[in-house]
């Protein structure tokens, strides 16, 4: 009888977790509703008590997400990002190659500090306008931007939710993320560009030999500038917001000296922005993605229960069995497995599941310099590039293209996404192997 009860205590959370995963993957219901329903069932069946559930929630991750959401909302209201995207558009002078390079790089840099969806919402509309103005097919440019957004996001603690979760769970700092992942991300960006420039050469021909096209892009720049001039920008508001954003990033970087957690820095930065810019609190609170925050809270509880009933430990042991004690195999298994799974499933629940698995696993096998976490970060963040459903930013970008009557099919995305994913994984593998080999 006791055994049956113990078994049901294990089976129920596993079944709920699998059901929630299916609901999220196939978008049968809203992902927050899916996880919260799972949590409700666990509470009703007394699998876990409310007090216990609260202890499963990683407040560092929730706080950092909340703080960054406030900062991004205020920055977006300043119009600063629109001005930057217009300036970049002018720099391209209508050259398709420059549009690809400058907009892609800006997207990657923005994504390192802002969330990927926000970046895509800012960068894609002007890209569509520019490419259509040149009579080009915008799909190549949109897909490249979204791929670079996912790649750029992997380089910092705040660039992508999996990194926020890893950072909060392990205490890895902003600087550690940047110094350890910056180099592979730069290499991945460079190799991805080389690949796109070779295979899509015909779409990147210069337009400076065609008077009509130069004229068209010239008129387009006037239109974008005129639209921009019709918007009133408050330079003081913009300056104050930039100063706060820079301060927040500086404090992220100084974590080892100040010992102030990124969540505290982000929330304080958000509050300071309210005071300094006198933005109405209610207006910004309306823009905060409560849905996402609730999703994270629910997910932490589901994974916490799995950990409590011993499933995570079981998975960790399985991982040890599969990969043995060879550090090269362990790292490559984590990198490629999480990468491939993230291409088809939401990388946030995957990261939430993998963090305790790797923590338990690390008790048995020691790998230096957080390499195992870099493998998880690179796998979960870059895996989103495989398919159109691999990351939220991909779905948003495809939706925006559709609005402009350009359909990006699953295959269209895969054609560019899969090779770039493979490039990313190969570069990451080589980088991690060298680090294990050199012991750095």
């Amino acid at each position: 009888m006791v055994e049956v009860l113990a078994l049901s205590n294990i089976v129920l959370p596993v079944l709920i977790f699998i059901a929630v995963y299916i609901l999220i993957t196939f978008e049968i219901v809203d992902k927050s509703i899916a996880v919260l329903t799972g949590v409700a069932i666990l509470a009703i069946t007394h699998t876990s008590g409310l007090k216990e559930m609260v202890t499963f929630v990683d407040i560092d991750t929730i706080g950092l997400l909340f703080g960054m959401m406030i900062i991004i909302c205020v920055i977006q209201r300043t119009g600063l990002l629109r001005i930057i995207s217009y300036k970049i558009a002018k720099l391209t002078k209508g050259s398709p190659l420059k549009i690809l390079l400058l907009f892609g790089l800006t997207t990657a840099v923005f994504s390192a500090f802002l969330d990927n969806v926000t970046t895509i919402l800012i960068m894609v509309p002007i890209t569509i306008e520019l490419t259509l103005g040149l009579g080009l097919d915008p799909r190549l440019f949109i897909i490249t931007e979204v791929l670079l957004s996912n790649i750029g996001g992997a380089s910092t603690l705040i660039g992508d939710p999996p990194n926020i979760m890893i950072g909060s769970a392990t205490g890895i700092t902003f600087n550690q993320f940047l110094t350890n992942l910056g180099l592979p991300i730069l290499l991945i960006i460079a190799f991805s560009y080389i690949y796109v420039m070779i295979v899509r050469k015909s779409q990147l021909k210069p337009v400076d030999k065609d008077l009509k096209k130069i004229f068209s892009i010239e008129l387009l720049f006037h239109k974008i500038r005129s639209d921009l001039h019709q918007t009133t920008f408050d330079t003081k508001y913009i300056t104050k917001s930039i100063i706060i954003l820079i301060l927040v990033i500086v404090f992220f970087m100084l974590e080892q000296i100040t010992h102030i957690r990124p969540a505290v820095v982000a929330i304080t930065g958000g509050l300071l922005l309210f005071f300094i810019t006198k933005t109405k609190f209610e207006e910004i609170l309306e823009k905060v993605e409560w849905n996402t925050l609730l999703f994270f809270i629910g997910l932490f509880i589901l994974v916490g229960v799995l950990e409590k009933v011993g499933i995570i430990e079981l998975l960790a042991h399985k991982l040890v069995e599969v990969s043995g004690s060879n550090p090269y195999i362990i790292i490559l298994v984590i990198l490629w497995a999480t990468g491939i799974i993230s291409g088809f499933l939401d990388n946030i629940p995957l990261t939430a599941t993998m963090i305790p698995v790797i923590m338990t696993f690390s008790n048995n096998i020691t790998l230096p310099n957080n390499i195992i976490w870099w493998a998880l970060s690179l796998g979960t963040c870059l895996g989103g590039n495989v398919t159109v459903v691999g990351a939220s930013a991909n779905v948003i970008a495809v939706g925006m293209a559709k609005k402009h009557h350009h359909h990006i099919s699953f295959i269209d995305f895969l054609r560019l996404g899969l090779p770039i994913f493979l490039i990313s994984m190969i570069v990451s593998s080589i980088y991690l192997i060298i680090r294990i080999w050199a012991g750095i």
Binding site: G133, D208, L211, F215, L219, H222
Partner: protein
């Protein structure tokens, strides 16, 4: 979408925001920059591209008459000098074309200023003027009247929100007292209005003018109440072509509402008979619409008779 269609769409968008005269200036400024930027291997290639470009510009949907007139003239001048140009190098030909562009810009400005001067004289103290569209000549006339300390008020007949906002912004900038009335409700204020000002995209040989969509509805109401209707425009808007050849752009869009969808046909401009307006004010002066033929003849003599002349 082909480059030609993209250019036409951009021309329509700019015309909405700037009016035809300012658009003409913008096109010349952009064209001059493009002449600098275009990479060609020979004069022959450069001229072929210029001819192709002029061919596109002069067939826009709708036709932008000041552009049409001045570019046709530019084409004539270049063709006349073609043989000499073939003997020159690319930089010389580029400089030659840019010089011709500058000449045209100066002339356009001169005609605009004269039309504005004449337009401003039509505004009296106590006038209540209704406006509807963005027109450089119209705004210039209102601005000049403000500088002359004329006391008047403006009603803006509301149309697309973006365009209306732009008009309000411009009028506020001039310090003019403004109120907005929806297009469909002007009946309620029309009795207070003393004059209605419109700009024009073209004034055709068969006695019509092309203006922003919605103009015809306002004129119909105003005419019933015998309110003075003014067309403010430079003579560069006059065309030898009839109204039917102005390529008014029509677009059918599918509108979706909940569980149904229906097509909406959108037109870029209205065309209205000049017998429906009271005065036509141009750089040539103020003419009663009954005297259109006299004005047309004068303009034809000035421009079309001489349209192959560099000075135009």
């Amino acid at each position: 979408m082909k480059t030609k269609e993209i250019i036409y769409k951009l021309l329509r968008d700019h015309e909405d925001q700037l009016g035809a005269n300012e658009l003409t200036n913008l096109v010349y400024t952009s064209f001059k920059k493009c002449i600098d930027d275009v990479y060609v291997k020979s004069v022959k290639e450069l001229l072929a591209q210029v001819y192709d470009f002029i061919n596109i510009i002069t067939k826009s949907e709708p036709k932008i008459t000041p552009l049409n007139n001045t570019f046709r003239n530019l084409l004539y001048i270049i063709k006349k000098d073609e043989k000499k140009l073939f003997e020159q190098d690319i930089s010389f030909v580029k400089a030659y074309i840019k010089n011709e562009i500058d000449n045209r810009k100066k002339n356009i400005h001169r005609y605009q200023e004269r039309a504005i001067e004449n337009g401003s004289k039509c505004i009296e103290d106590g006038d209540v003027i209704m406006v509807h569209s963005v027109s450089y000549t119209m705004f210039g006339s209102l601005e000049k009247a403000v500088h002359r300390k004329k006391m008047f008020k403006v009603y803006v007949a509301q149309q697309e929100p973006k365009k209306t906002d732009l008009i309000i912004k411009k009028l506020r900038h001039l310090g003019i007292t403004t109120e907005v009335v929806p297009e469909y409700a002007i009946n309620h204020v029309i009795d207070k209005v003393t004059k209605i000002f419109f700009g024009a995209l073209s004034i055709t040989s068969d006695g019509h003018f092309l203006a922003n969509i919605g103009t015809k509805a306002i004129i119909s109401i105003a005419k019933l109440r015998n309110i003075e209707i003014y067309i403010l425009s430079s003579c560069l808007k006059f065309t030898t072509e009839p109204m039917t050849k102005q390529n008014i752009h029509a677009k059918k869009e599918l509108h979706h509402v909940q569980d149904m969808s229906y097509p909406i046909i959108k037109f870029s401009h209205d065309f209205i008979g000049l017998d429906n307006v009271t005065y036509i004010v141009t750089d040539e002066g103020k003419f009663h619409s009954d005297n259109f033929k006299q004005l047309y003849g004068k303009v034809k003599e000035k421009f079309f008779f001489m349209r192959n002349n560099n000075s135009n």
